[in-house]
Symmetry: C2
Subunit: 704 residues, 2 copies
């Protein structure tokens, strides 16, 4: 790369310019003087040759340094900026589409049928298009994509999943999904992480083509990890928690250098994302996405900590119910004959049916009026994070005007029902509607809805506390009313954290709202919720992996101390098809036809099976084919053996039969391995793949 940059710099040498750093100083001076003699007129244009030379030397040094450090950093910068621009453009288009829907609904007048049609048909059409368009291009573009990415990061290659053709399908599909707004109640984070990973994979390929540099699996992984951070950061404009969230959700181990890369890329992305908002005159300067005005002087009283922890536990329990139902429904939809057939052949029809149901329920003149269904996802959050107490606001209410952020809360007030009722109704209905929406086969994220749901849970808790203690909890020293917005923050963080099994949502909430005063109680709530959820249910992503049967290595839980006592020889696969060095045509053919492995171990001989190395299937097939053509006509056994004619790859790592399950699992997880051979005193005795490990771990967790 260094040379490349220098070459590009030197290729068109101006007449009279001397090479600065290759030739010796004497030769230089002579050349220069010669040039001066020939082109005297140039002298007036180029004074102080020595200073110029020095300056140019300095510049080249700086350039070299920049390019040497750079490369990866340029790549990450480009990735961050690119994704920020896509995210911003998408937000803009979604906003316009959403406004169009609102305008349409407003313009059709008071005819209930027209109102109903305009309310339902718009999202139905959008989601049907989203499903049809994305599914017709590639079947991989549905869903959030995080479970698949999680699997890829453990070292399994899912083919075509990061192909660039998914990109367009996912962008268009996601835009349509988001434009149908809070009717469908789906989000953006998951698909954006997937998009970011695809962009990184594509940019990586481009870079390899351009620079001809060596790019291995490690490097690709590094870039994927950074890409996830960018994905989260450019949605929320929150760089730090973006990195942490992607780490927690994606991996079981990570390297600190990956963390730095992610941090850099995410900061570039988040900065660009917020910058674009400023340029677009939405904001005067760079501020948080969902800004709140919670009181900072006295954010919460000490005894409230208990309420926050209780809220965390409640969120944890609800998240368990949510995760269980969600997994059950996902399985049910796949098994039920009717839905399975629909999902297999007519995905858009399924989408239309489900979205029609969802839209009918949220239709404002019917049930929708009890669940503030006219608000968009962002407006939901703004209204729920409101720093004022709804209870107090309701007492001196003024006529509802939609649109002003200060009055969004009025959507939650219904003449007949107090806002407690609407909140409870919202929670009850959205619980199953949200689960139903996650079965839709279109590009969509499931984090944001969970986040909003948690905020509603928190708001309900906060308003309850505020109603119980109208003058604040600690009566002495003046009235310090409870801030229900703080509970909404804690609820959002705790519920989304419990569903995704991550604690960095505590920071995400702080970064997204731009304030830290509630950091400690929010963190406590998130920890409590995680404690409950991690104990009883797999995370949302792990659950999807289980349902989709992706090749994934389950973790060993810390209480399974027995994993130290289970040895590799107890669970390894003893029947490993292998070839001996002296094997000829017949033996190799037999092995090839017996199994479909992509790689075979080579041993010294069948009698003394010392592991020598591995040979690829392609190599063996070529060996058989060359012998097959040359050998059979003459009727005699073809000459040549595997040891002589095939390229044998050395084996880097071997297990011993006495390695514990714990150690083997640790190795597979850390090094992202697919298969390891087991040798005893150098002799091949078996092999361990992820399948064997998974079986052993499952047996450990559930002994017969």
């Amino acid at each position: 790369m260094v040379h490349h940059a220098e070459d590009a710099d030197r290729r068109p040498p101006a007449p009279g310019m001397e090479p600065t750093d290759c030739a010796g100083a004497d030769g230089l001076r002579e050349e220069e003087e010669a040039a001066e003699r020939v082109l005297v007129s140039e002298k007036s244009w180029r004074p102080c040759p020595k200073s110029r030379r020095r300056l140019r030397g300095c510049l080249e040094f700086v350039q070299r340094q920049l390019f040497r450090v750079g490369e990866d950093w340029y790549f990450l910068f480009a990735l961050g900026v690119l994704m920020a621009m896509i995210s911003f453009m998408m937000d803009l288009i979604v906003y316009r589409l959403y406004e169009a829907h609102r305008w349409l609904y407003h313009e059709v007048g008071d005819y209930l049928v027209l109102k109903y049609l305009s309310w339902t048909m718009y999202p139905v059409a959008l989601t049907a298009f989203s499903t049809g368009f994305s599914q017709s291009i590639t079947p991989h573009s549905g869903g959030s994509g995080i479970p698949e990415l999680k699997t890829i990061l453990t070292g399994v290659m899912l083919e075509d999943y990061l192909a660039i053709k998914n990109f367009g399908a996912k962008v268009v599909g996601l835009t349509c999904t988001l434009a149908s707004g809070s009717t469908v109640f789906l989000g953006k984070v998951g698909p954006f992480v997937h998009l970011s990973a695809m962009a990184a994979a594509y940019l990586g390929k481009m870079r390899t083509t351009v620079t001809k540099a060596y790019e291995d699996k490690f490097k690709q992984n590094e870039m994927l990890v950074a890409a996830q951070a960018v994905g989260v950061a450019t949605v929320f404009g929150a760089p730090i928690s973006g990195v942490l969230f992607s780490i927690e959700v994606m991996s079981s181990h990570f390297a600190v250098r990956d963390y730095w890369r992610g941090f850099f890329a995410a900061t570039c992305g988040a900065f660009m994302f917020r910058l674009l908002a400023v340029f677009n005159s939405e904001q005067e300067t760079i501020i948080a996405l969902f800004r709140t005005n919670l009181k900072i002087d006295f954010p919460f009283d000490l005894p409230e900590t208990f309420f926050f922890i209780a809220l965390g536990v409640i969120c944890g329990v609800i998240s368990c119910a949510y995760l269980f139902c969600q997994r059950w429904l996902l399985g049910y939809v796949k098994e039920n004959k009717f839905t399975a057939k629909l999902l297999a052949t007519d995905k858009p029809v399924y989408t239309v049916l489900v979205v029609l149901l969802l839209a009918s329920i949220t239709f404002p003149p019917s049930l929708g009026q009890f669940m503030a269904s006219r608000l968009s996802m962002k407006e939901y959050l703004i209204s729920l994070f409101d720093n004022r107490t709804w209870g107090e606001l309701a007492r001196n209410a003024s006529p509802a005007v939609l649109g002003e952020p200060q009055r969004l809360w009025q959507e939650w007030c219904h003449p007949a029902v107090p806002f407690f009722g609407t909140l409870v109704f919202f929670l009850l209905m959205k619980f199953w509607m949200l689960i139903l929406a996650t079965t839709l086969p279109l590009p969509a994220g499931y984090f944001m809805p969970v986040f909003v749901y948690g905020a509603a849970v928190g708001r309900l808790a906060g308003e309850t506390v505020a109603a119980l203690f109208p003058d604040g909890i600690n009566a002495e020293g003046g009235v310090r009313p409870v801030v229900p917005g703080g509970y909404a923050l804690a609820g959002a963080a705790a519920f989304s954290g419990a569903v995704t099994h991550s604690v960095s949502t505590a920071l995400l909430v702080c970064e997204a709202t731009g304030q830290l005063a509630h950091a400690l109680p929010v963190t406590l709530a998130v920890l409590a919720a995680n404690g409950v959820a991690q104990k009883w249910q797999p995370s949302f992503y792990a659950g999807t992996i289980i349902v989709k049967k992706l090749p994934y290595l389950p973790p060993i839980r810390s209480r399974h101390m027995a994993s130290y006592r289970v040895l590799t020889e107890e669970f390894m696969d003893r029947h490993v098809p292998s070839v001996a060095k002296a094997d000829g045509f017949a033996e190799v053919l037999a092995v090839l036809t017996a199994t479909g492995d992509a790689e075979f171990p080579v041993v010294e001989s069948a009698a003394v099976p010392t592991l020598v190395g591995t040979v690829s299937r392609a190599e063996l097939v070529a060996f058989v084919q060359s012998r097959g053509e040359a050998g059979t006509p003459r009727g005699e056994k073809p000459a040549g053996t595997v040891g002589d004619d095939c390229a044998i790859e050395p084996v880097m790592l071997q297990l011993s039969p006495w390695t514990s399950l714990h150690q083997a699992h640790h190795l597979f997880e850390l090094l992202k391995l697919q298969r390891l051979f087991v040798t005893r005193f150098g002799e091949l005795v078996g092999a361990v793949t992820r399948a064997e490990l998974r079986r052993a771990i499952e047996q450990l967790a559930d002994p017969k």
Copy 2:
């Protein structure tokens, strides 16, 4: 543990109480009825036996669950609370001691000699006691302890470093060091991380003794990682950045479950720490440690981003100079005859000399008046983070009254010198004074001084920008003055981040000051500073490791692509002393006397050196001793071979000669290995230890 808890619960069985879950339901009912017949009077006291039984069953179930999940969590909770209490108590004592000094200085009147003596003798006495006391108990208690912990976490066992006897020495020593205040200008973070690790190691040992549970190296490491997070979190009251900072500084790879543990422990610690402040009536509720009142509505203008990045680069350059000088001085002090002799024999004398020099310079009536030396470390930070512009304050100044936080800035104003002058003087003097202070052989942290120094750099930059643009940068739309406090935040984060090579200081600043509005520009500044510093200098901790020659594995820099092409056979140690299975007394004795290895590989025979396993030195010594006693008197060769009489441990992992340096390094780093054997087709051909790896990496970085 589960049984233990249940046993404890059941041991004193009340009369008439039945065992609830052991016996069958029928047996139970009979027993119960019998009990009822005998003790009728009890019935009135214990109604509804069935419900009670159910309730008790539930409670026991809950208890079992709690204890099963718990264990580790209880441990982490205890650790967090314990360290928070120690941290708080230490702060309290330090504050009292510091106040005593201030009182003394004030009370001696206007006699300059007395003033001078009271100013200098107090810190001299404290630090001399600190040095003498801690060094007399254990030589390990000096310094911050982070470099050594970093080494321990890579898998090297430094003996006695985590012994509990260091604990007392370090607590007392650190208290004295801190009490001498800003004269010595040292901090608390590093030793506190060390203290926390010692506490974790001790608690871990206690737990193993009590529960007889299996505790291996992995578990210990997990706890140490959590302990570091607690250490940082309880000093700053900042849980999230505490975890991140400890991750970045300590390890190169990280498991997400360690992160969760750290998070939990750090949150408990930080919560407790701030809670104690509330109980002590210092604060009304839980708020940030160094609270600022920076404007939130309009924290900074867009073009200011460039100034922030420039500030980051400046901090990076200064940090390079600082790191270089610091390393040089540390080496010089060790080499110079006079200081080396002092440090070897009379450490307190060295401390006295250095502290006397430092205290004389900071003496307020002399040079101290130009560097605001009457402020404590915390007051420095509060005055530098002030949200008002000093330039404006200076124009309408009022007589200086020390102590009120709103007027601390006046310490920086001198009748003769504008505050720009005092800031520059402060920076110039503290640069070498700080470096000199790091050579002191007493328990002290080096993060806080660097943090304060960075804040001063940032304040200088901020005041300069504010002076250049008095009405804010973007004149349209009203006057929006520049906030120099924001620059101070960025400077503190960038400088401390550059010195320690970490980016989480950006979050630390936000958490410690309780506000996020400047998060993005601060992050950009930190990234810029890190970019400069990581390129040119090893981090403070890595530098100390180099100077102290601790056994540490250097990282492979990403641009060393050649590491993929260097194979293990090129750098492995080919001369591995081994024993054959058939070896007898004479051969084993020869091997034992030849080298001092703690473990020897066992091969099949000298002719066919297939690796069979390893045998410990102790085992071989026992073998030789038993043969030596029995065999020599009779003059004949003793019977028995290694293969028959010694316990041979299996080898878990082997390298092949074709493994690349990159892979080998990765393995050593990930698995915290000390030595791996290299086998070719099962035969032992060499070994790789950290020494060989280090040599290979150094050769790669600096080829001859």
